[in-house]
């Protein structure tokens, strides 16, 4: 059985699950007296190809192309389709990464073949290769196998095999074959932009010493800036009770309460928050709670250290102004 392992790299750095999949391929090959070819795709990946050549495999297939420098699903599918058609493997294995989730099913479909994704292991049943997938969130596992002719496509979940169990080559470096592929810019329908790291949710309210929180009393999204002005003047973070985040007036990560964050700042200024228990459990640990609310019977006053019965729309601008002056 000829097995192709499609490794994954980005900017000449490995995605380490590639080696887990390589280990799986080696184990399957030794059980079924097959061979393993490792594929590396990209631009200027000689070093990576040579690293693969030191493993116990038959060969390395190095696919280089200007247009493969950045990942695009079209580019990878067009290139790998040609590789698979010429190498004629029985089985193509992938690490189950986000990138693989993106293009591998498409590649399999282009070749009219099936894919078993996100496998956690394999078994041999009378010489037949059976893949194991988790179902029902790991409560049970399903055995899945291929019908019909290869190439068969399968991906292994991260952590299913051990990268440190990849066997090294015993007879020196294995051959690295450069495979040329036909790929034109117009075949690629997407344009990769600069890579970026998603900013972590900008705020960690649990670390904020001062918090200004708004509730239903704020009435409308256009009034939020008034509260933000108070927060800014105090150097505080803005937060909210659930209805405000439900409406999308502030992002969900600014929600305080049983379904949001639990905070214990030095000062918590509650503006137009009635004090439903769902909110209170998220902030009652604050050292000082100041509440402003129109309704003198609002439960927030039961836990507030200082309470103002009044209209937040009168108080907010005045407060912001005075705080500015005091600076």
């Amino acid at each position: 059985m000829k097995i192709l392992v499609i490794t994954e790299q980005r900017q000449a750095k490995w995605n380490n699950t590639s080696f887990e999949t390589l280990a799986a391929a080696q184990q399957i090959a030794s059980a079924l007296s097959g061979t393993v070819s490792a594929v590396v795709v990209g631009k200027s990946v000689d070093a990576l190809a040579n690293e693969l050549a030191g493993k116990n495999i038959a060969e390395v297939l190095q696919i280089e192309h200007e247009l493969l420098e950045s990942y695009t699903p079209d580019g990878f599918c067009v290139a790998l389709k040609q590789v698979i058609e010429s190498a004629k493997p029985q089985l193509v294995l992938f690490p189950h990464t986000y990138q693989v989730r993106d293009f591998a099913p498409k590649l399999a479909a282009m070749l009219g073949k099936g894919m078993i994704g996100d496998c956690v292991g394999y078994r041999l049943e009378g010489g037949r290769l059976v893949f194991v997938r988790q179902m029902f969130q790991g409560k049970t596992a399903a055995d899945v196998t291929f019908l019909g002719d290869g190439p068969w496509f399968a991906s292994f979940q991260s952590g299913s095999f051990r990268a440190d169990q990849v066997a090294a080559s015993e007879g020196g470096a294995k051959p690295v074959k450069r495979v040329t592929v036909e790929l034109k810019a117009e075949q690629i329908r997407t344009k990769p932009l600069e890579l970026f790291k998603e900013a972590k949710s900008a705020v960690d309210l649990t670390q904020a010493p001062l918090i200004v929180a708004v509730g239903r009393g704020i009435k409308a999204p256009e009034n939020i800036p008034q509260a933000e002005a108070v927060a800014k003047a105090m150097g505080a973070e803005i937060a909210a009770s659930r209805p405000i985040c439900d409406e999308g007036w502030l992002p969900m990560e600014r929600q305080i309460g049983s379904s949001g964050q639990t905070v214990a700042p030095k000062l918590y200024l509650a503006l137009g928050i009635s004090g439903a228990i769902q909110h209170v459990v998220g902030m009652k640990g604050a050292r000082t709670i100041v509440a402003i609310n129109k309704d003198q019977n609002a439960p927030i006053f039961e836990i507030a250290d200082y309470g103002v019965v009044g209209d937040i729309f009168e108080i907010m601008p005045a407060l912001a102004e005075e705080l500015q002056k005091a600076k």
Binding site: K139, M252, Q278
Partner: protein, 564 residues
Amino acid sequence: MTVQREQLEADVLIVGAGPAGLSCALHLANLIKKHNESGAKPELSTENIYVLEKGREIGAHQLSGAIMNPKALAELVPDFEKSAPLDTPVRDSAAILLTERSSFRFPLTPPPFQNQGNYVVSLNKIVKWLGALVEDAGVNVFKEFGGAQLVYENSAVAGVITEDKGLDKNGKPKDNYTPGYELRAKVTVLAEGTRGSLTKKLVAEKKLDNINPQSYGIGIKELWDVQPGRIEPGYVAHTLGWPVSTDMYGGGWIYGLANNRVSIGLVLALEYADPRFDPHAAFQKWKTHPFLRKLLDGGKLVRYGAKSLPYGGWYAMPRNTVDGALIIGDSGSFLDSQRLKGIHLAMKSGMLAAETIYQALKTGDASAKTLGGFQSRVEQSYIRDEMWKVRNFHQSFQHGMFRGFIHTAFQQITGGRGLIDPMRAEEGYKHNKKIDATKRSLNATERFKGDGKLTFDRLTDVYHSGTRHDEDQPCHLHVLDTNICITRCVEEYGNPCQYFCPAAVYEMAREVDRSAGAGETERLRLKINFANCVHCKTCDIADPYQIIDWVVPEGGGGPNYEGM
């Protein structure tokens, strides 16, 4: 987007791990075990029985009073007394009439209120215990998975699709998106409890309704730890009268559990005239009666919950078998509408279903013909005896307590026949009168606030239900036409969803209309706080326009009825 679903095949798929579903699973597992031990063919496997449960764990969504008649459990688990969490046997059963300030115990407790031989239990604990037996028997119970859709094959039920996981609030896949599984089974058992969301669709699709539509009530419950000496374990009382007016049907319960714990609640028929009646507020008001105040004073609220229940009885029992499927438990109307006892009937219905399914598995025929054996088994069992005697009971009360008592007196001496048999019923929501007919102002009524010690507002109570839903998922309360909410319903019924929901899910928000040409006028908008939903199904039942469709949210969401 077409979704490719993974398929799995089972012999039997049971939707809902409550008393009915689990009794069905356990009894069937026992039959299969005996079958295999006898060497009979074909060999069957308990692993091919699947149970779906939308709750976080088995029992999480179980809510009942509860007084349990143990007779079905004794058949299912003969030595149940050794290991079942029975809490305490009933020692004293009282019927109490409340007026606003006083209470009178009936000198002789009427038979329907007598409970000697029964147990006061936590249904949550009983079901958790039963679930462990089911899992030990090799049955696969999939927690956090709900049945979202029925699968048909040549018009026969062929299984269920579980709910999609990992969709955001706009229905777009998130990173953890997993499409629901397509579970195919020779026999599908709907044991979803009251107003099951799949059952509702199947009953409509196959026209399974009996001569009466189902009638429903809502039960609102709090569990309290009270001061020592206030109530004896095993003391059970049912209250009639205040604050339930005589044109409504309902009453309260007070059950003494072990360790100074007490279960209290109010059950009300969802067939009242005033669309702005608030069952939660009525329950809170009931607690302020001196009789309850004395009991609860100095105590502490432990947990809250609410659930609807099917009152309709024998004449509202849907046809319980179709090709490929059976309906059991509350979904199938297996509840004694006079005594409001359904646990033992649900269990028995599950066991009879198991016997029927066992025949189907042996013969390989799961058509309505084989499964129809379920109905004859029910007819020959004590389910029929118990339900037949009270077949006209609940309908008698559709027009108030006084007429009800007259009818039931006749039914008592005629074995249930009474003055009219069968007595018909209509859907509860049809009892709603339009608000201009009720002499009440259009202004929204003052909402019940609670004192925070004896009485609570709805949000505080919901907090004590342990309810949790991932908020970034599609709303599971489908309102088919929200335009009705802000036009006709405002005028005609005053938006009853704000009042009948015991979990403050529905809210008519006032907001400024910024649409072109609207100026700065205020308008109403229906806001659905679905994360509060305690899965009681009242909205699906009580909405006067029948445009609310309750569908399963992502599995694992919902209340946590620990100890309820």
